[in-house]
């Protein structure tokens, strides 16, 4: 057994190479060695053979936005449980946010996360380190030390980089490391005590609203700063039509700007808060927006403005969520629902084609953060996501590998599901 894996008979969808058809794929020494119409197993030197007939074979999916909660909040999630959830959900890599306890603003925390990830072995983990020490929004974190320890990007996510001065310096300084600044775009003063999108449904429900402008004014400011500094800027969980337009315009002018959207902002609106009778699983930041915003995001997927779909997997314990709507923490889990939601409600529904979805879940994320992978071209990491487009699943939170269950998608029946992941040529069985 050479550790080689031959994946035969599948439909390879690799938009990075413009491939969509029947190909065999040979992975050797952790990397893609050959991709050909037919690879004779005899020529593959005793490689293990995986029969992928009836399945889609894609470059390993990368989720740019997850909260693994370790160190510090292991009762919500750990690196091991979160990456196992990732593998179960069809992801071979995740980028994890630094709002842990303590904050990932120093190389020892980064190192801890990476060693836990290696020990668990379910998926690759790319730590996103803090922009500012302690997420306090004052002093820059040691970006050079953090990059050396393995950080791939910088963010104060959970909180915005509120200060224009800090954002400007961060964009300038992070350019030394070619790392993007990932912004949780929110003006906390405009948000006030808001708990859901400000619109018809906040008016009906009497809940304090978070206006779309809370996101838009920060994106607008940051794009001006990105243009001035030449820094790489990435908008996390973009949720409004106006912010999307700002990004679209910035891209048209050639700025190195990227953005991600979440499945929940693509599939749900603020109305869900009413329809679920104030379920706290419809409470997250940014909030579920208006139907016009949702439609704009769908258009942004189709026209190429959106670079990545990311889950913003935000586990919370049941005891924390099972409280008054206004008192509940923001956030929902997503690692184990994203792929099926996208296959059923985006691809099957005709919003985008399968190659575009694969791009949004692999090539796009890899490019946005400068990560390996995102393609099955020879020499790329041997990371593969297998999809079964015909399998129907019913979302059952009790079956999640994640430690948390906070999802608004429980009970949804979806056609299309992940059928396994391969990590560096190794089959993962989460």
């Amino acid at each position: 057994m050479s550790g080689a894996l031959l994946i035969r008979g599948g439909r390879v969808v690799d938009p990075a190479q413009g491939l969509d058809g029947a190909f065999d794929l040979l992975i050797e020494d952790g990397a893609v060695a050959r991709i050909e119409e037919t690879i004779d197993p005899k020529s593959a030197g005793g490689a293990e053979v995986l029969d992928a007939s009836g399945l889609v074979v894609a470059a390993g999916f990368i989720d740019l936005h997850v909260h693994l909660r370790e160190p510090g909040q292991e009762y919500k999630e750990t690196v091991a449980s979160g990456t196992r959830a990732a593998a179960a959900g069809g992801f071979t890599a995740v980028a994890c946010m630094p709002n842990t306890v303590p904050v990932n603003d120093n190389p020892s925390v980064t190192g801890h996360i990476l060693s836990e990830a290696a020990r668990a072995g379910w998926a690759r983990v790319y730590p996103i380190a803090a922009v500012s020490k302690g997420l306090a929004g004052q002093e820059l974190a040691e970006m050079g030390e953090l990059t050396a320890a393995g950080a791939v990007a910088f963010s104060d996510d959970g909180l915005p980089v509120a200060s224009g001065e800090l954002m400007r310096r961060a964009l300038l300084y992070a350019a030394h490391f070619s790392a993007p600044i990932v912004q949780h775009a929110e003006d906390l003063v405009l948000t006030g005590d808001g708990v859901m999108h400000e619109g018809e449904w906040s008016t009906r429900l009497g809940l304090a609203g978070i206006p779309g402008a809370s996101e838009d004014v920060v994106v607008a400011r940051d794009l001006l700063l990105a243009e001035e500094t030449g820094g790489r800027y990435h908008v996390a969980h973009l949720s409004t039509a106006r912010s999307l337009n700002l990004v679209r315009t910035a891209k048209a002018r050639g700025l190195p700007v990227t953005c991600e959207v979440t499945p929940h902002h693509l599939l749900l609106t603020d109305r869900a808060v009413a329809d679920t009778g104030f379920s706290t699983d419809t409470k997250m930041k940014p909030p579920l927006r208006a139907e016009t915003d949702r439609e704009a995001l769908l258009a942004g997927l189709a026209d190429g403005t959106v670079d990545a779909i990311a889950s913003d997997h935000a586990p919370h314990h049941r005891d924390e969520k099972d409280v008054e709507f206004s008192a509940a923490p923001f956030g929902i889990v997503g690692l184990e629902t994203t792929v099926s939601l996208c296959l059923d409600r985006l691809v099957r529904a005709g919003v985008i084609g399968l190659p575009r979805l694969v791009e949004l879940l692999s090539t796009g994320p890899a490019k946005a953060f400068g990560l390996p992978g995102g393609t099955l071209a020879p020499g790329s990491p041997g990371d593969v996501t297998l999809l079964d487009l015909e399998r129907t699943v019913t979302v059952d939170p009790k079956s999640f590998r994640s430690k948390s269950r906070n999802t608004p998608f429980g009970g949804w029946e979806l056609r299309g599901a992940p059928a396994g992941t391969i990590l560096g040529g190794r089959r993962i069985d989460p």
Binding site: T203, G206, L207, F278, E324, F325, S326
Partner: protein, 313 residues
């Protein structure tokens, strides 16, 4: 007193009631109204039923009104408020709820600062749940007593022009009233500072006027809302003086309304802020009638939600 049209254990809001259900409550209230005129103000309707008044937010008039209604129906009632309760010790709302449920009450009347709490409670307990105000969401019994008062004075609600003026955004009373008055065919017009007008409120089927004068011109009913001075941040309006100048109801402005207009206020009033004293105490005011009708309406709601009408049938 058969009430076959009522099959709910809870009254959580007006939004999900039908016009027939609303009329049923109002008709039932009318039958209880005369109890207040008796020398012995008590009927045995809810004898042996236990009602818990669960007030997480301070309230004098609503809680007193419910208590009197409960006593007049011969229910056994218990007041549970935040001060001195388990909540002060950090117990979760769910745990408090489950503990109360274990005592097997028949009805829980709840007031809470957070929208949706009565709904959350109703899903977890067997007792009927009556919303006595959840944040800025709904205050159904207030809207019902307002409707009762309007119907008693005007003989109808259909086709009436109703102006509601003040802090629309933070008012649970206005949301319940919009739903109720629209369902019964009134035309509702809102007025207030644009900084206190919730976005897209027109989607609830109301008109928004730019000025107080525009709203009350020809109105059959003018409902003034309390400005919650203690809760306002100073970016909503610059001063009380200016508020009164723009949106205070004076006798002069009231002359724009219909000649038989009635003036309402859910209380407690800020005299000289949203309403001038001569209007509040004047001939068009029905503010104290509202309070009296509140007891009868709450008796009706308690009776219907208790299921006593089904047991009697």
């Amino acid at each position: 007193m058969a009430a076959p049209g009522w099959n709910r254990k809870d009254l959580l809001g007006i939004a999900d009631l039908s016009a027939d259900e609303i009329r049923l409550i109002l008709d039932t209230a009318a039958s209880f109204r005369e109890v207040a005129a008796r020398p012995i103000k008590k009927v045995p309707t809810l004898r042996g039923k236990t009602v818990i008044n669960l007030f997480f937010e301070s309230s004098t008039r609503t809680r007193s009104s419910f208590e009197i209604a409960e006593k007049r129906l011969s229910a056994d009632s218990l007041n549970f408020s935040t001060s001195g309760s388990a909540l002060a010790k950090g117990e979760s709302l769910i745990d408090t709820t489950l503990n109360l449920q274990a005592m097997a009450p028949d009805l829980i009347v709840i007031r809470h600062a957070h929208p949706g709490v009565p709904h959350m409670l109703a899903r977890r307990v067997e007792a009927g749940v009556i919303n006595a105000g959840d944040g800025a969401h709904e205050h159904p019994t207030q809207a019902l007593l307002d409707a009762y008062t309007i119907r008693e004075r005007k003989g109808r609600i259909q086709g009436l022009k109703v102006a509601i003026v003040g802090d629309i955004e933070h008012s649970r009373v206005v949301r319940s009233n919009i739903h109720l008055l629209s369902k019964l065919g009134a035309e509702v017009t809102l007025a207030g500072p644009r900084t206190m007008m919730p976005v897209a409120v027109e989607r609830l089927g109301v008109r928004v006027a730019h000025t107080l004068e525009e709203a009350i011109e020809g109105a059959d009913v003018v409902m003034m809302l309390r400005i919650q001075l203690e809760r306002q941040s100073r970016t909503r309006f610059p001063s009380v003086r200016e508020y009164f100048r723009l949106f205070g109801l004076t006798a002069e402005r009231l002359a724009l309304a219909a000649s038989d207009v009635i003036v309402m206020h859910p209380g407690p009033m800020n005299r000289g802020v949203e309403i001038a004293s001569d209007v509040a105490d004047g001939p068009f005011s029905v503010i104290l009638e509202q309070v009296g009708n509140g007891v009868a309406v709450r008796m009706a709601v308690l009776y219907l939600c208790s299921g006593a009408h089904r047991e009697a049938a």
